[in-house]
Amino acid sequence: MRRKKNDLHYNVMVLPGIAFLALFSIVPMFYAIMAFQNFKPGRGISGSEWIGLENFTYLFQLPDSRQIFFNTIFLAVLKIIANLIVPLLFALLLNEVRVRFLRKWIQTIVYLPHFLSWVLLATIFFDVFSLDGIVNKLFGVFGIDPVLFYASNKWFPAIIVGTDVWKEFGFNAIVYLAALTGINPVLYEAADIDGASRFRQLWHVTLPGVRTTVVLLGTLALGNVMNANFDQIFNMYNPLVYQSADIIDTYVYRVGLNDLQYSLATAVGLFKSVISFILVVVSYVLASRFANYRIF
């Protein structure tokens, strides 16, 4: 990389970000060693007793741990897949809308939910899915018995994934829309002249045009396989659906901050981070191979 003197102000501008990163992400990393201790705040890291892998052994003996790891991965994978496909379909459809004004309007409206907080949405969805909520009223019209969605381990994962997709698909579609605009219009003209129908054009021009974007987003999302979105689940779940919705992060929160078992919570978090790290590396390798995406 070539350096110029007038790069300095850029470097200054990045300083707060680096300080933030160091303070909240890098420094705390050293404290992860408390996962191997019986950590007592009063004695600190240096004064607490070392217990090796005991926390991890205990973690794997817990009846809940298998469930929370499964839930985390299950929900995260479903979300990743849904969040790839739905925005893509939406972007493709929107791309076909020829009225520019209408297209912009739709695009703006569907990405608004991205900016709402889960605290608020959880309350709204509770009403929507409650016994006398809209969904159950609709069910009633068709003579279906009301369902307690929030209390049902069958429905709850679907609600978690569905609401997450609803909130994010508009925002995620932006990348696809950008990729779609990047496709050379000449290709469509050529296809048109060759007598390709709109569907054929979609298949042979549009999809190949966004293929690299899809692959890139897909592989990068791998790093999120252990992240099922604490914000959302913490605000929406209840003890009845722990079985299907308790994830690593909510568990760590309850064990660490409510029950004050710092070491155990750290062990869970560290374990999660290690797996996430491996997945991030894998996704990076895959992304650089298939989509020619490189950071370094």
């Binding site: 007592k40 705040p41 509770f126 004050l260």
Partner: protein, 570 residues
Amino acid sequence: MKAKLLLTALTLSVALTACGDNGGNGNQSSDSNAGTSNEQTSGGNASGNTKSGDDLAYEKTAEPVTLSIGFKIPDDKLKSGDTNENNIASRYFEGLTNIKVVHSWEAKGDDAFKQKVNLAIASNDLPDAMVVDRNQLRKLIDNDMIEDLSDSYEKYGSKLIKDIYDTTDGMALADATSDGKLYGLPNVGIEADAPSLLWIRQDWLDKLKLPAPKTMDDLEKIAKAFVEQDPDGNGKADTVGLEGDKAVVYGQKPNPNGFDAIFGAFHAFPKNWIKDASGNIVYGSTTPENKEALAKLAEWYKNGLIDKQFALYKETQEPIVANKTGLFFGPWWMPYFPLADSVTNDTKADWKAYAAPLDADGKFVTHMAPVTDRYIVVRKGYDHPEAAVKMLNVFTRYERRQDPNTEEVKKLDDYAAETGVHIRNFYPFDLLLDYSDAVVKRYNDVQKAIKGEIDPATFDPDTKQVYDFTLAEKENPKKNMDAWKPAKAYEVGGAILANQPMEKVYSVFYGMTRTMETKWATLEKLEIETFLKIIVGDLPVSAFDDFVAQWKKLGGDQITKEVTEAVNGK
């Protein structure tokens, strides 16, 4: 949660029985005339060269001392110019003691306060003193983060607080003691908070011409009628039966919607350590009686007699406030919260409480609450641990109406009367030492005064207030909700506590043991999930037996052994 917050705010009604029945208990610091504890003013036990007893307890510190605390922000609106940190109460106590209280941090509401304390513990950044709960105390002792207060308490504790602690037969102090060292100054709670009564919309009951409930079957009939017969008369099937909470039972001090009374009627005492028929100590959630209670609840849930969504509400009081339910369990103070909100939303609402359901022999059975559940602790290394003791001395003396500085006390009382501010919410520590029968005593006094048997002029300010509000409420029902709250809480809740014979079951153990520290969270989660799932029908009732087996295997047996040792070792 708001309910818990209100429980605290509640103390406004609960306080101040002026003259105690704390007779007969001598204590180290003083003399034999313990019959009344009003002799603080005389300082009569200061003989000899060195100061001792109450002279030392109430003495100003020679040098100004700074005491930093964590403060729980109340709802009260102070006069402009005053702050949570610098107000009429804080200035008075600082003037008395020469101890300046500064707030390291403040938090609003019980949950936020608890989180702040947890955070302070986790980051090893404690204020000089603060109020903690039982688990936090345990953690602090374990981590060697707090001062041994034995000497400070011995030397500087006032006769009054020692007397009150003595009324608990040493249980309160023992609770905060570990290895013979006193690590916290505990509160002394009132007994009245433990029983969970059945609260009913009397206007609905009358409308449907149903008799007052006594048995489990009565309750079932009422629930059924409330669901099916449109008690609110709006032509829509929008009312539910019995309300519940996702915690199922509270076990010690209940909040609204616990099923504690149902379990009690089956002689099951979940979340309490009790002695079984053969004298062995068992965990109350694992006894076979629970299965009967769960079977009953599951049957009711299945038949729609319990609100189908009870486990889903973020705030348990929602259906009560919205007047969707006319049937729930809660302690005597329900009129303060959430019932006042229910009545504000529907002035026709007329709530009554019953000691129901009764057990098979016609008795009302309830678990009790621990004598103490919070503690003032002092950070290890703080130079003036006695400052916390002295603060407790002065505000407890004021709280118990034994403060000899009549002029200043009058000023505080006038201020409180004028602004509606509760002085006690601005004590440095949200921790009261009360006589355990305060509610019943106040109810009886007010009733006697209404009948003209005693002169209300002799009442302490809080009893007087309840008396005044009761009269005001009689004259103008539901005009002034601030009058309605105490009037109803005492007239309805207090009456039952005073008149209904109850079979009270005390827990034998409230603390934590070694194994509990690592395993209890898992066991509790297993318990709550099993109970909930059985009630809503996700699991059959027989799953209770699997739960017990699993509970024992996952550390329950070991913990039971430790608890037995702890109890027998005392």
